[in-house]
């Protein structure tokens, strides 16, 4: 994780600041009070502080009334870039946005959600706001202390512990990160082997693998096949068993049906015998009945003949009666006919009179008038209808004209809209071209930037190479200087020291303590040496000179002589002499070589030489480092050539857009620098919009064409109707007049018709009373005449019927007479008697045996049919059984079952095998988790190693507890608390710990004005250490001592160029901090050689497309 960019506004004294960071070492330098710590505070607040927190008040600048605003971009991992924007205070706001390319960000969370999401991403052990019991102030945890330590307490990490974290996310993250550092190699090997076997069978989510390499796959396939075979076999066995049972059932049914048929056949035979007997009796009975019938028939014929003769006689009598009745009826008709003829003549005469003729004439005249009025009425109605048609036609014309007008207007509007949309599309096409240009420019810029970067890297590498040479040269010079000092080796110095000590000891043995008193008689001068300390003095006569010495006193009195008093015996003196000689003979040569005369001088020379050698080593180290930095120069050169070629190619592509002579670079520089993907995204969006609009335009064109067609049709229709109106028989004025008068004329005609109808009624009522009376008489007589005639006709008919009946009866009587004459009743009686005797002689039939022969036959046939049917079924079933069943399928089923059992056993073994691997893997992981709770172990080694290097082995181990709480340091095998160390050493231990934690987490670390107490040598070493760490993580150093850090391989940021305080003038913007993130994106700036046009706004687009859609719908 590394910070890409920080933007601050009105925050903790900073008016505005924009800092662009890079991976690796970032050195942000500037004088005190510029706001370095404020920037760190801003980073801390961005990542940790809810915008509504009262703690944010501390960020507020009391000099201005503005809300502190911060924006931070950091890359969590490749292609996971986050931007956090916060505004603290009364109008607090927070946004968390995500991007893959660092250009296009999409909102991931806002306001209160931001803190929770952010802490989920960071996993620093911080609780999101809202929980109870949270501490007030800036949230902090072990990791925040390590990565974002405050300047005021740079050693806080030494007192921090994971135990104090608000939640376990930080511990979990560190555990995860540190586990890898402490795993035992054997454990790793076992875990890897177990994991490998688990991976063979299971996916990462613990599901069984199903791919071609899965161990379950073949087994599962075999199992499925076996189960399928087993199912089929089982089914076959079941079928076989069913078939076998079916065969047995059918066999039983066949036997039952055969028995039934046999029984029915027996019963049928008995019944048939009985039936035969009964048939014979019935035959005899029938013959008897025939004879009896013939006898009865003959007797009946005789009786009928007698009856018929009586009927003939009665009919003759009735015919005679009816003859008389008919004669009377004919007479009555003859009587009434003359009276009816007279009445009819009387009526005819009355109707032929003059009065009646006049009435009929008037009636005819009235009728004629009535017809005339009717005709007039019809004529008028026809005229009115014509006029109304014309009136309707006129109205239709008016309506059509209105419709044509409306359609014309709508069509014009649509055409205008269409033109507008096409113009807009052209504009968008132009914009697409602009974007294409911009994209080409972006490519060019990217290529150029890359070329530039490569060039810078190339130059830097060259600088490093030069510097490496210079440093090597300096190192050589230092070594030469060190050699020129001719300082004895440390061992020689030690030897000299030992000789000196021996000498001193030997001399000390002579130190027995001396007290010398001397009283001169005369005044004089003397040189007195007490234990080698020589002093001169004058003395007076009789002055007592008293001296105390350890080993020797020597008086050298001018003009008198010398006195030497020494302590110790001769052996001790000799030993001292010898030691002194040894010392002298050895030391003098060394002193002579080194040009000094004391041991201190020699030690100083040695130290000087050591320092020079140490410096030469450091220079060698630096030279090697610089040399390593310059490695890859050739590759860089090649890359630079390629990048330049790319830039040239892309520039040529951009240049094609412009007229000759136009300044491509000026244009490109004037552009807002956007990423290619953002432009491509915009192009895609715009192209989509254009495509959608084109689609709408096409729809609109279809609508317009349809409107035009309809309009043309309506206009033709209108012209035709106008012509029709113009050429009609009635002029415009006439039909209107006619319509106006039509009602009055209609009324008049109605009145005339009513008058004629009344007249006709009156004429018809004028019939005379006489005619009416004659007519009544005629009616009565006619009715009476008809009645008499009917009576006569009826009597005649009855008589005819009686005569016919008589004739018929007479015929029948004749026939019967003849029949009876031919009958032999006696013979018939004899025959009857004979047959009766025969019937009586026949035996009776067994009625119980005779049930129903047909039923018995049916039963027998049915039983036979059932038996046959069952036999057929039996054969079929036996055939089926022979095909599907038997031992064969049972064996197959047993085989299939055995196969399944075997596969189940194999599956169990496989499950056991891989389940055991899984269990082993999980158990290893659990044990490791438990074992890894002592997180400190992982950090002890790197921290201690660096500490030992830093202190030249003086401090050999830093103790770090299970919760990463550093407790102390070892010195010479003894533990010391940090308080016992110097401030500088404490700072250094804290730094090492923080760096190690950041490296474990692969995270940035911010060092705010740390190491203020370190000496230059350690500073140099630490600078090297930071450089090494920056190879792996981002290290941000805030310092007011840039010289200690700036060596050329870091990203240096002069904060005076980036930070504007409220009390200072705005600084000129640098390349790195040109665009504050929250600022709105600016529009493309075209060059003078390109056509300018008004950019359509989003609202314009919305309106136009809405209109297009609505118009299309309309």
């Amino acid at each position: 994780m590394w910070i890409q960019r920080l933007d601050v506004k009105d925050c903790a004294g900073i008016a505005s600041a924009s800092v662009v960071f890079k991976p690796g070492l970032n050195v942000l330098y500037g004088p005190n009070e510029l706001g370095k710590s404020s920037l760190v505070k801003a980073i801390r607040a961005t990542l940790l502080l809810p915008p509504t927190s009262s703690t944010a008040e501390a960020l507020r600048d009391w000099n201005v009334d503005a809300q502190p605003t911060v924006a931070l971009i950091f890359e969590q991992e490749a292609q996971r870039i986050w931007r956090v924007r916060k505004s603290f205070g009364s109008r607090a706001a927070a946004y968390l946005e995500f991007s893959r390319d660092g250009d296009a960000f999409s909102q991931e969370a806002r306001e209160r959600e931001v803190e929770g999401t952010l802490q989920d991403i960071l996993r620093w052990g911080i609780n999101p706001p809202g929980g109870k019991g949270g501490k007030r102030g800036m949230p902090s945890s072990f990791i925040t202390t390590a990565l974002l330590g405050e300047q005021s307490d740079i050693n806080a990490i030494l007192a921090a512990s994971l135990k104090d974290d608000p939640n376990d996310s930080g511990r979990d993250q560190l555990t995860q990160a540190l586990q890898a550092m402490v795993e035992d190699p054997r454990f790793k090997a076992v875990l890897a082997a177990a994991q490998e076997r688990v991976d063979e069978a299971f996916t990462a989510t613990g599901r069984r693998r199903s791919g071609s390499a899965s161990p379950w796959r073949q087994l599962r396939a075999d199992r499925n096949n076996a189960e399928k075979r087993e199912r089929e076999s089982r089914q076959q066995v079941e079928d076989s068993e069913t078939a076998r049972v079916h065969v047995r059932e059918l066999q039983q049914q066949v036997h039952a049906a055969e028995a039934e048929a046999e029984q029915a056949a027996g019963q049928l035979e008995a019944a048939q015998v009985a039936a035969q007997r009964r048939a014979e009796r019935e035959e005899a009975a029938r013959a008897l009945a025939d004879a009896e019938a013939q006898l009865r028939q003959a007797l009946a014929q005789v009786r009928r003949r007698d009856e018929k003769a009586s009927a003939v006689e009665a009919a003759e009598k009735e015919a005679a009666t009816l003859k008389g009745t008919l004669a009377a009826a004919e007479q009555a008709v003859a009587d009434i006919e003359p009276r009816a003829s007279a009445a009819r003549e009387h009526v005819r005469q009355l109707e032929a009179g003059d009065a009646e003729q006049g009435r009929k004439l008037r009636e005819q005249e009235a009728e004629n008038r009535r017809l005339k009025f009717r005709e007039q009425q019809k004529e008028l109605q026809a005229k009115v209808a014509g006029a109304k048609e014309l009136q309707a036609l006129e109205r239709t014309i008016a309506a059509t004209e209105t419709e044509v007008q409306e359609r014309t207007e709508r069509l014009d509007k649509r055409r205008a809209l269409l033109r507008q949309a096409k113009a807009r599309t052209e504009a968008d096409q132009d914009q697409l071209e602009d974007l294409e240009l911009e994209r080409d420019c972006a490519r060019y810029l990217a290529a150029r930037r890359k070329a530039q970067t490569l060039k810078e890297q190339q130059e830097a590498a060259e600088q490093h190479a030069k510097r490496a040479k210079a440093l090597a040269r300096d190192a050589e010079e230092k070594r030469t200087s060190a050699q020129a000092l001719n300082a004895p080796a440390a061992a020689e110095i030690d030897h000299l020291k030992r000789l000196d000590t021996e000498r001193r000891i030997a001399q000390a043995k002579l130190s027995v303590g001396l007290a010398v008193e001397f009283t001169p008689e005369e005044a004089g001068n003397a040189e007195i040496a007490v234990d080698g300390d020589v002093r001169k003095r004058q003395f007076n006569a009789s002055e007592q000179l008293a001296y105390e010495a350890e080993r020797e006193v020597r008086f050298d009195i001018e003009g008198v002589g010398a006195l030497r008093v020494r302590g110790g015996g001769p052996a001790l003196r000799e030993e001292a002499q010898s030691a002194t000689e040894r010392w002298r003979s050895t030391a003098e040569a060394a002193f002579a070589r080194a040009g000094v005369d004391t041991m201190d001088g020699l030690a100083a020379k040695r130290q000087q030489a050591d320092t020079l050698l140490e410096e030469s080593k450091q220079l060698d180290f630096d030279a090697t480092h610089a040399q390593s930095l310059s490695e890859g120069l050739e590759a860089l050169e090649r890359d630079a050539v390629v990048a330049n070629a790319d830039a040239k190619r892309y520039r040529a592509a951009v240049a094609e857009w412009f007229d000759a002579g136009a300044s491509v670079d000026d244009y490109v520089e004037s552009l807002e620098q956007r990423g290619e993907s953002a432009i491509a995204q915009q192009m895609e969006a715009l192209a989509k919009k254009v495509s959608e609009r084109d689609s709408l335009c096409k729809q609109m064109e279809i609508e317009v064409a349809r409107d035009e067609e309809k309009l043309a049709g309506q206009q033709d229709d209108l012209a035709r109707r106008r012509e029709e109106l113009r050429t009609s028989a009635l002029t415009n004025e006439k039909w209107k007049e006619l319509l106006d008068q039509a009602d009055a004329q209609e009324d008049r005609l109605d009145q005339d018709l009513a008058a004629v109808d009344a007249e006709l009624v009156a004429i018809q009522a004028e019939a005379t009373a006489e005619a009416e009376s004659a007519q009544n008489t005629l009616t009565t007589l006619t009715r009476e005449e008809n009645a008499k005639r009917e009576e006569r006709d009826e009597t005649n008919e009855r008589r005819q019927a009686a005569l016919n009946q008589l004739a018929k009866l007479q015929g029948e009587a004749g026939e019967l007479e003849n029949l009876v004459a031919n009958l032999d009743v006696t013979t018939l009686q004899t025959t009857y008697d004979e047959r009766k005797s025969r019937l009586d002689e026949l035996p009776d039939a067994d009625d119980d045996a005779i049930t129903d022969l047909a039923e018995l036959e049916h039963r027998r046939d049915r039983a036979n049919a059932v038996a046959n049917s069952r036999r057929d079924e039996l054969h079929t079933a036996q055939g089926a059984l022979s095909q599907v069943g038997g031992q064969y399928v049972e064996e197959q089923a047993i085989q299939a079952k055995e196969a399944i059992d075997a596969l189940a056993s194999r599956e169990h073994d496989l499950e056991l095998e891989y389940g055991a691997w899984k269990l082993l893997r999980d158990t290893l992981a659990d044990a490791e988790k438990e074992d890894a709770t002592h997180l400190g172990d992982a950090l002890v080694e790197p921290v201690s190693k660096h500490m030992a290097q830093l202190t030249a082995g003086r401090y050999d181990q830093v103790d770090i507890g299970p919760h990463l709480d550093a407790s102390g340091i070892r010195l010479g095998g003894h533990e010391h608390s940090f308080e016992e160390l110097s401030v500088g050493t404490r700072e250094q231990v804290a730094l090492l710990l923080r760096l190690s934690i950041a490296e474990a987490l692969d995270s940035f670390v911010i060092l705010d004005d740390h190491l203020t107490q370190s000496d230059p040598i350690r500073m140099r070493w630490i600078r090297q250490l930071l450089g090494d760490a920056a190879q792996k993580i981002q290290v941000v150093v805030m310092t007011c001592h840039p010289d200690a850090y700036l060596t050329g391989d870091e990203h240096a940021v002069d904060l005076t160029q980036c930070v504007q305080r409220h009390d200072t003038a705005p600084p000129p913007a640098t390349d790195d901090n040109a665009d504050p993130v929250p600022a709105a994106a600016e529009k493309l700036t075209p060059t003078p050689t390109r056509r300018r046009r008004r950019e359509p706004t989003k609202d314009d687009d919305l309106d136009l497309e809405t209109q297009l859609r609505e118009s299309t719908r309309g």
Binding site: Q883, G885, V889
Partner: protein, 395 residues
Amino acid sequence: MRTKAEVANAIDENEVALTLLHTADWHLGRRFPAFEAEQEKRLTRARLEVIGRILDVAESRNVDAVLCAGDLFDRPAPEKEWWEGVLHEFQRRRWQRPVVLLPGNHDPLTQQSVYNAAHPFRTGLPEYVHVVDEKHWQLPLGDNAVVVASPCESQAGDTKLVESLPKREEGDTRIRIGLVHGQTFDIDGHQTNFPIARGSAAERGLDYLAIGDTHAFREVEPKAHAPTVYPGAPEATNFGEKDTGNVAVVFFPLDRRRRPLVRREVVGAWHWREATCHSIAELRTLASEDLRKTVLRLTLDMALPMQEFDEAERLLAELRGSLATTPRVGVLSEHRQGLRLATDAPIDFNAELPDVLRATAERLQAQARSDAPGQAEMAERALYHLYRLVRRDAA
């Protein structure tokens, strides 16, 4: 194995009128799905290999005819490789002695079967090989003997095929050999296919009734004058089958009053065996045997300390074989659910374990002592995996 002359001597030096080789139940093409694919191949191949040995015996005994009493194929229409294998065995022999193939209930005479007249197997058979393809089928063996046979025409049925064999006609003095496929037992509730009643041989006037179906060698009526014989399967088809791996060589004496002599000849190569080991010593002993032609169903029932458990696994691996090593057992079916680790015994990992591995081992040991079903077994196995990995690492 005695020669024809020796046998002749054995039957009171009467001359032998006729010698037959009677076989059945080859079950070619039979699958063994309970075994793994490679093992199954070995067993199915073995069924074909035995045919050659059967015919070799016929040659060496100089029999007059070979009677194959059904179920030569495991199903009516086996794959080509099976019938081609048989065809090859017949075609490569320039025989005159007849070989009679009888369709059984596994390979009945149907439209689809290999015995159908149009089937390439049938058309490819040399002239000396005859197929019983109708009821009342007869084949004279010279002037003095005749084979009468009736085929199965379905997989199951209660047809008494032996009753369709013609009875001895009056004056027919030839040696009459009946050939049918079916079952001579009738157990209530058990399907009996193509039943063969006792006394059928005598009832039909036969001197020998050659039958097939049962996989064990069996003389059905040992005291009857006319033997009724199942030769059994020449190679066993499953565990538990006894008296398999034989053919019957039948000697008919010239003295017709004497009963024909029936002798078993061993032709099978494979031995099906079930074994249970209760200790590592038993397993060691078993593993030292020659088991290359053995189908072994091995059940392990023992709890072993880790070192012996490891040895057991190693012995099993040797028996089982691998891609790199030849299996010591022809076909192995392991039932190892009873092989358990004695969890109370200390485990010598032969290495100074790191704490985390020691903790892992302790946890697994605790789980191995659990009563939860399956958990203990799995923990034992995991413990063994750990043991192997640590030992390997240490090595």
